[in-house]
Symmetry: C2
């Protein structure tokens, strides 16, 4: 069974990212191993540039665009990690970037994205749907739209994190990674299925969503309402078209993680490993720590996908729990 | 001007710690450099084993004790980072360890120290002074007392963090490090004064204490009441005897950092760099970030000494500030 994403694309992405993306640390914890019975290797993309794995895909995409598209510039619609990732990637390549954000996005997010050199355009999400706002921007300015997750180049970039992990720790029996739109998972799963014989690939998604589990069970992409979860990187209403085709071939299982399990994992990572994670970033760790994935005796790679949670939000999420 | 601590002792400690202590990461931040005007290199000992720099000195001391002292075992009085550091160090060397803690110490600290394999003995700090409790333990059991800070072997171990920093980033113009009892600073300052020509060494201590600044100004160790500060690693009433002799020769300046400046630095390190720090661990970063140390145009090493702040305490300290 072959992934529709060629491993070669990921190897080429690794060359593009060499010396530009951080080679993020792989963290281990005796306590975590004792609690789960496995040998766990946490790839901490929270230490990636802009604080999440998204930088890898954004840079891979922008740097591989044809020169005329680079000249005109790129755009996206995002108030999340992809916005900052694309802004920095474009700035590094020397490409203009326009990020469309809802006008009620947190001021700190607007400022951070501008801080990376992007032009931020706000739209009123109540009077105009996001897709419409994005389309207008592309047409008026001739910009190339860069999806946060639904693009082979995004997944190829993300896959380089799994390459690094495999390089550093060797073969894995299990890989556990978050699934939102699937852009990251499509990359990671392609890598480990190609390089680690017999590996089991487990996706972790919000129990409030389960859109990936349901879509994979149905064999086609299911649509849901925006799920209510603290894992804001996973508030998608359907899997990405391209990643879904990859995940059909490469993902063995998807587990449903509750917000409480995510908070437990965020607290564990903070207390025991001194790692700052946002809710979506901690969800794969939560899946393992809460026993949703049986890892006894296994060598397990776990992706920590991001650490963009401000002090205020962290305090609000974790205050008064114990 | 020579440090009373031979550089050779630190080089030997580095050999003992090789492959045992973590070689902790050196972190940089474009934002931090822009705000301060310097080029900053943060040595993150929060990622050291047991979560603080203390492991280096504890392991160096325990592993270099004569065989008969190792056989009888070691003890200390601490409810802080030294307790866990000594417990793990002793366990790794195969030496019995007894840690004396006040019986009203947080249960989590007692459990963590036992978790590293040490025997924890509690005493009633209202009916018996700490020194008296420690003395009894040594006499009754023939244990070797290992100070948290007042011992050349402790400082030699700590100094290896500065050696790694210098190895990784080259010469420094300024080194900024926390001073509590001085055990860490004595090691760091010895290293950089020996290896970086013209380096300026700046200590950061709590504005509520200033016991090191006052002692250095007076030329002898001053005694104060226990200072009220969130930097619990710095709640000492006088500098250590040995470190003070070193610091007289090697420390150029000591700056006084307020609790608010520490909290700002903890929030910055969390938000921008995804680094978990305890108050004492963030104090040197706070000194630079708040402008107490002029670093314009300079290459600056900064020691982050520890990250042992639980989620609950972090939330309590940083909740409701903005």
């Amino acid at each position: 069974v072959a992934s529709p994403l060629p491993l070669d694309d990921i190897l080429r992405a690794a060359e593009r990212l060499d010396g530009i993306a951080n080679r993020t640390p792989v963290l281990t914890s005796r306590t975590l191993d004792e609690r789960t019975g496995g040998r766990l290797f946490l790839k901490a993309e929270s230490f990636q540039r802009t604080g999440s794995f998204k930088f890898r895909g954004a840079y891979n995409t922008v740097s591989s665009l044809p020169p005329d598209e680079q000249r005109r510039g790129v755009c996206t619609v995002s108030s999340g990690n992809h916005a900052q990732a694309l802004a920095l990637a474009a700035w590094l390549v020397g490409v203009p970037a326009v990020i469309l954000m809802p006008e009620d996005a947190p001021p700190a997010k607007l400022a951070a994205t501008r801080g990376y050199g992007a032009e931020v355009v706000v739209y009123d999400r109540y009077s105009m749907p996001q897709a419409e706002a994005g389309r207008r921007l592309q047409e008026e300015r001739g910009l190339t739209f860069v999806s946060s997750h639904d693009d082979p180049r995004i997944s190829a970039g993300a896959g380089t994190a799994a390459l690094e992990l495999r390089d550093e720790v060797g073969d894995l029996d299990v890989l556990v990674a978050p699934i939102g739109g699937g852009g990251g998972m499509a990359g990671y799963s392609t890598v480990v299925k190609a390089l680690c014989v017999g590996v089991r690939v487990v996706g972790a998604e919000s129990a409030a969503s389960q859109v990936n589990a349901r879509s994979l069970a149905a064999g086609h992409r299911v649509d849901i309402d925006i799920p209510r979860t603290i894992a804001d990187g996973q508030q998608l209403t359907t899997p990405g078209r391209f990643p879904f085709e990859v995940m059909k071939e490469t993902v063995d299982e998807v587990v449903a993680v509750t917000d409480d399990q995510i908070l437990d994992a965020m607290a564990f990572l903070f207390d025991r490993m001194k790692v700052v994670t946002e809710p979506s970033g901690a969800i794969a760790t939560a899946a393992v720590l809460s026993g949703l994935v049986d890892v006894a005796g296994a060598r397990v790679g776990v992706i920590i996908s991001g650490g963009n949670v401000g002090v205020d939000r962290f305090v609000a999420l974790l205050g008064g729990r114990s």
